[in-house]
Symmetry: C2
Subunit: 247 residues, 2 copies
């Protein structure tokens, strides 16, 4: 049987701003990593290492943030951080903010979140450039332990029309994030309609199944998945504005 | 390392209307299935076995279907089938139809598709009740080979804001389709914000990585994933209308 394995790495140490995350990851996976694996890393540890934490006590909320927070019983400082991390508000209603981040991701609260972060007044932002973070990690692993792998930086996003969140790829390096079947034919010779698979998102989702939310497993290795080792990135997973019917 | 395996079943025979699919699947997986596995089945073989195929030569397009098809160079008969499979049109523009199916799924073309179907004039619909199909398969497998598993019936859906499709669960039996962390706390004692994981969708996505679109692998076994073996269904994965900001 054709198969893949998804392996979660337990007991990874707590990551703090300024830590050399690539070195920490290299040490943690050195014995286990194989060429052509995909290493999936939850963005939270990337953000922490890169210092993408905000002490809310330093945040002066805008009038908009104060008003919206008061109306829905939210923390105005956290709303302010969400607004700052957004370049466009897609929906803002019922206490929810769905916005487009500076990277172009559309998600709740611009990816700002207070879970798995130490300190009552600290929130975590998305990495500034998750593709670059993924690429640096891939380069570091190619150097030491000397293994060529693809890297996916993941986050949990909500979806339109469906309940619950799933993990998606917000940073990709060393692989094509999509499998493009356009022009290919099915076993009946009929052109394949459902033609571009967002495989980097599916890899992130598969990794979430072993990471969970409370297990302290921020890394997973996907083994046996045959990807195209090109210089892809997660921006290819964004819907171009001219094709976006849900602005 | 904590891990899961995803195994694709190759060489599954072509499925025709009226085939006893549960028996065919039981025969194919009997040697491989273990208790607590999740069996993911692409909806296409379920639909075929259930006769959910439409011969377009029997379809008389409505005025709406004819007009829309003419404007965008589509087959008016196929558009008609999409309209019939829809209970609400969400977006209808640029030749695209995104609608809510009678089940409540929001997807392109109401899940109607012509790939992996024999015959130029045949299209495949979603199963009438994919949860019931999943439940019947789970019951059949509990009987013969006598193994209790969860079943996920999958399809590939597009997403708002993201390029490419991913597999999701449209039918679920024998497991809770979500992992609900509400009320739990992270290792820092902070309430977990991203709290309801759509794990059935993540299982479908993981299975797609071994199924592909051209490999003729309509079944995958996910082993090692610890799910809650309740009587869940895929309707729990639908966003309730009152919470849907993208009607």
């Amino acid at each position: 049987m054709k198969g893949i394995k998804v392996l979660g790495l337990e007991n990874f140490p707590e990551v703090r701003p300024g830590d050399d995350l690539n070195c920490m990851i290299s040490g943690a996976v050195a014995r286990d990593l194989r060429p052509h694996d995909v290493l999936v890393v939850t963005h939270k540890i990337v953000s922490k290492a890169e210092g993408r934490l905000v002490d809310l006590r330093t945040v002066e909320p805008s009038t908009l943030a104060k008003g919206y927070a008061a109306r829905y019983g939210k923390d105005p400082r956290q709303i302010e951080v969400v607004l700052r991390e957004s370049r466009r508000i897609v929906r803002m209603d019922r206490g929810i903010i769905i916005s487009e981040t500076h990277h172009g991701f559309v998600c709740a609260n611009a990816g700002v979140d207070a879970s798995n972060v130490p300190g009552d007044d600290t929130v975590c932002l998305l990495p500034l450039d998750p593709d670059a973070s993924a690429a640096r990690l891939g380069d570091a692993l190619a150097e030491d332990p000397g293994v060529e792998v693809a890297v996916v930086v993941s986050d949990s996003f909500g979806r339109a029309w469906r309940h619950g969140i799933t993990d998606v790829a917000i940073g990709v390096a060393g692989m094509d994030p999509v499998a493009d079947y356009r022009g290919l034919r099915d076993p009946h010779g009929y052109p394949i309609e459902a033609s571009v698979l967002a495989v980097a998102d599916e890899l992130a989702a598969a990794a979430e199944l072993v990471m969970g939310k409370t297990d302290g497993i921020p890394l997973a290795i996907v083994r046996g998945y045959s990807y195209s080792p090109t210089s892809g990135n997660a921006r290819e997973l964004l819907m171009p504005p001219e094709r976006d019917m849900f602005r």
